[in-house]
C-alpha cells in the first residue's frame, strides 16, 4: 500500500509539475502572440488614419472619378468595423480580418494607380509625403504580420505538439490563426514612379 501510493503520488507530482511548466510556457507564448497582434492592429490603424488625409488631398487636387474615392472610403469603413480581440485569434477570425484589410488594400492601390493621371497631384508635396507614409505603413504592416506569424508559429507548435497538447486542451489554449501569404501581396498598394 505504502509503496504504490508513493508511486502514484510521485507520478501525480511529476505530472503536475510538468503541467505547470507547460502551462506557464503556453501563457508566455500566448502573451507574445497578443503583443504582436497589438502591433499588427496598430499598423493597420495607422494606415486607416492616413486614408482620410489622402482622400482629402486627392479630392482637393483633382476632380476625380468619385467611384474610386468612395470605394476607398467604404473599404476603410468595413475594414475598421472588423475588430478582433486578442483573446479570439482563431484562424477563421484572422481570415475575416485579413479579407477586410485586403479589400482596403485593393481599393487603395486602385486609387493610387488612377492618381497617376494627375500631374498636379504628383507634384503636390503634401500628396507625395502622404504617399511615402502610406508606403512605409505597408512595409510596417508586412513586418508586423511577419512577427505575428512567427509568434503564432511558436505558440501553435507548443500547443499542438504531443505532451503539451494535453494541457493545452485542459486549460483551453486553442490553435491560433496565421496571416496567410495570399494575393494581398499583389493587392497591396505599391507606389512606383
Amino acid at each position: 500500500m505504502n509503496k504504490s501510493t508513493l508511486i502514484i503520488v510521485g507520478i501525480l507530482l511529476i505530472f503536475g509539475m510538468y503541467g505547470c511548466s507547460s502551462y506557464n510556457g503556453l501563457v508566455g507564448k500566448d502573451q507574445d502572440v497578443k503583443g504582436k497582434w497589438a502591433n499588427v492592429q496598430t499598423q493597420y490603424q495607422r494606415r486607416s488614419d492616413l486614408i482620410p488625409n489622402l482622400v482629402n488631398t486627392v479630392k482637393g487636387a483633382a476632380d476625380f472619378e468619385k467611384s474610386t474615392l468612395t470605394a476607398v472610403i467604404q473599404a476603410r469603413a468595413s475594414a475598421t468595423a472588423v475588430n478582433i480581440k486578442a483573446d479570439d485569434l482563431t484562424p477563421a477570425n484572422i481570415q475575416k480580418f485579413q479579407a477586410a484589410q485586403d479589400q482596403l488594400s485593393g481599393a487603395l492601390s486602385r486609387l493610387l494607380v488612377s492618381v497617376e493621371k494627375y500631374p498636379d497631384l504628383k507634384a503636390n508635396q503634401n500628396f507625395l509625403e502622404l504617399q511615402s507614409q502610406l508606403e512605409g505603413t505597408e512595409n510596417r504592416i508586412a513586418v508586423a504580420r511577419n512577427d505575428f506569424n512567427t509568434a503564432v508559429q511558436g505558440y501553435n507548435s507548443s500547443a499542438l505538439s504531443f505532451p503539451t497538447v494535453i494541457f493545452a486542451k485542459i486549460f483551453g489554449f486553442a490553435e491560433k490563426g496565421f496571416f496567410q501569404a495570399s494575393d494581398s501581396a499583389q493587392a497591396a498598394p505599391s507606389v512606383k514612379f
Binding site: 502591433n39 484562424p91 507625395l128 509625403e129 511615402s132 507614409q133 508606403e135 512605409g136 505603413t137 512595409n139 510596417r140 504592416i141 508586412a142 513586418v143 508586423a144 506569424n149 512567427t150 508559429q153 501553435n156 507548435s157 490553435e175 490563426g177 496565421f178 496567410q180 501569404a181 512606383k192 514612379f193
Partner: protein
Amino acid sequence: MLNRFFLLLFFIQSFAFAQDIPQKPNPPRFVNDLVGGLLSQGEIDQLEQKLKAYNDSTSTQIAIVIVNSVQPYDISEYAVKLGREWGVGQKDKNNGIVLLWAPSDRKVFIATGYGVEGGLTDAYSKRIIEEIIKPNFKESRYYQGLDEATNRIFKYLAGEFDADPSPAASTTNTGSWEDLLLMVVFFIVVVALLLRPRSGGDDGGTSNTTYTSWGSSSGSSSSDYDSSSSSSSSSSDFGGGSFGGGGAGGDY
C-alpha cells in the same frame, strides 16, 4: 492542415532568408561594400570614419550596405531583415539605420529602426532618396550621394539622441589629437606604474596621488582608446537594435 502547410512555408521562407542575408561583417564595419569597385578604398574609409564618429557621439548607428542584388525579395524586407540580423542600433534605443544599395537592381532603401522613426520619418527618407541619392547616383557620383545622404540624416536626427551631431563631423581631427594626448598620458601612467614597484623608491607624494587618481578614472577612457585604435572591435560593434519596417526607398 492548411496551417501546417503555411507553417512549413514559413520555415522555408525564413530558411531562405537566412541564406540570403549576408553575414554580419567581422570585425563589424559601418560601410560594407560587398560588391566592390563602386567606391574607392579612400572613400570607404572616409565614410567609415564619419559614421564611426557619429556613432561615438550620438550612439546612432548608420550602416551602409552594398549588395549586388536583393532579388527575389522586396528591398524594404531585405533591409529590415539585415538590420535585425546584424542588430544595427543600440538595443535599448533601436536607433539604427540601414542604407541598403543594390546596384544590379538600381535600388536604394533607407530602413529606420523603431527609435529613429520619429526623427527620420518615411517622408524624410523619401526626400533623401529623391533629392540626394537619385540625382547623384544617376550621374554615378556614388560617394557624393552617400556622403550627402548621411549628412542629411545627421541633420534630421540632430538632437534626437544624446549629443549634437554637428560637432561630430568636425571632431575627426580634434578627436585624433585627443587620442594622441590620451595615448601619451596613458603611456606615462603605464610606465610609471610599471617602474614604481621595481625602483622601490618614492617619486614624491604629490605625483603619487595624481597617478592614483588618474588610474582610477582612466579605466573607461583607456578602454575607449583601445577600441578606437584598433578601429575594429567593440566600439563599432552593432548594438542589437530592431527594425519595424519604417523608411523609404526608390529606384535610380
